[in-house]
């Protein structure tokens, strides 16, 4: 059963999305700048993982949007 999220949880989710966004760009730049083939491959795989993590966070926001009250409680 999903519960409505608090303001604090929303802030953590939003901050996490900023982190994942920065990391996927950082990994993409690192993967294309690094000459070591093994490291470059690892970093380009990491781009995909950060994209998935970002999607997970976005899905959570979408799910909780449905449950959130439209007017302040109490």
């Amino acid at each position: 059963m999903l519960q409505p999220i608090s303001g604090k949880e929303l802030e953590y989710i939003a901050d996490s999305m900023s982190n994942e966004d920065l990391l996927m760009k950082q990994c993409a730049c690192a993967a294309t700048s690094i000459s070591d083939a093994g490291l470059s491959q690892l970093l380009s795989n990491m781009v995909k993982t950060h994209q998935q993590n970002y999607t997970t966070l976005m899905n959570s926001l979408n799910q909780h949007q449905q449950l959130a009250p439209t007017a302040p409680q109490n």
């Binding site: 999903l2 519960q3 409505p4 999220i5 608090s6 604090k8 949880e9 953590y12 989710i13 901050d15 996490s16 982190n19 994942e20 920065l22 990391l23 950082q26 990994c27 730049c29 690192a30 700048s33 690094i34 000459s35 070591d36 093994g38 490291l39 690892l42 970093l43 990491m46 993982t49 993590n53 997970t56 966070l57 959570s60 909780h64």
Partner: protein, 130 residues
């Protein structure tokens, strides 16, 4: 300007690139752990826990790759006597704490009054956490 005189811009060394990502991954692992402990919704907590594990795995994989590429200096092994010293300290702590717990818990079933909880003492109001 550099293009005009044909000079190439210096490139960031591989090790620096890898280290920037590594240190951000370390930070993100900590942030997910904090987010999980601060979450009240079970599904949000479990999402943050999964994301923490995913980031921890990436950090570990990157660290291993950097070590194989000789980009990471592992710290020198600690001396045996340093470990011995900690074992000594914490064996003593363990014994003292065991004794404390035994003394503390043995009074529980014998109806002995707890020194810090007088019968007439008023229960403090429960604080609200958020």
């Amino acid at each position: 300007m550099n293009q005009q005189n044909g000079m190439q811009l210096p490139k960031l060394p591989d090790a620096d690139w890898a280290y920037t990502v590594l240190s951000d991954l370390k930070r993100v692992v900590r942030e997910y752990a904090t987010a999980a402990t601060e979450s009240t919704c079970p599904d949000v907590r479990s999402m943050f826990t999964d994301l923490m594990n995913s980031s921890l795995k990436m950090q570990g994989d990157l660290y291993n790759a950097m070590q194989s590429a000789n980009m990471y200096d592992t710290s020198s092994p600690v001396l045996r006597q340093e470990i011995q010293k900690q074992i000594g300290t914490y064996t003593q702590t363990q014994q003292q704490t065991q004794q404390f717990i035994q003394q503390r818990m043995s009074g529980m079933n014998s109806g002995q009054a707890q020194p810090f909880m007088g019968q007439n003492q008023q229960q403090p109001q429960s604080p609200m956490y958020n």
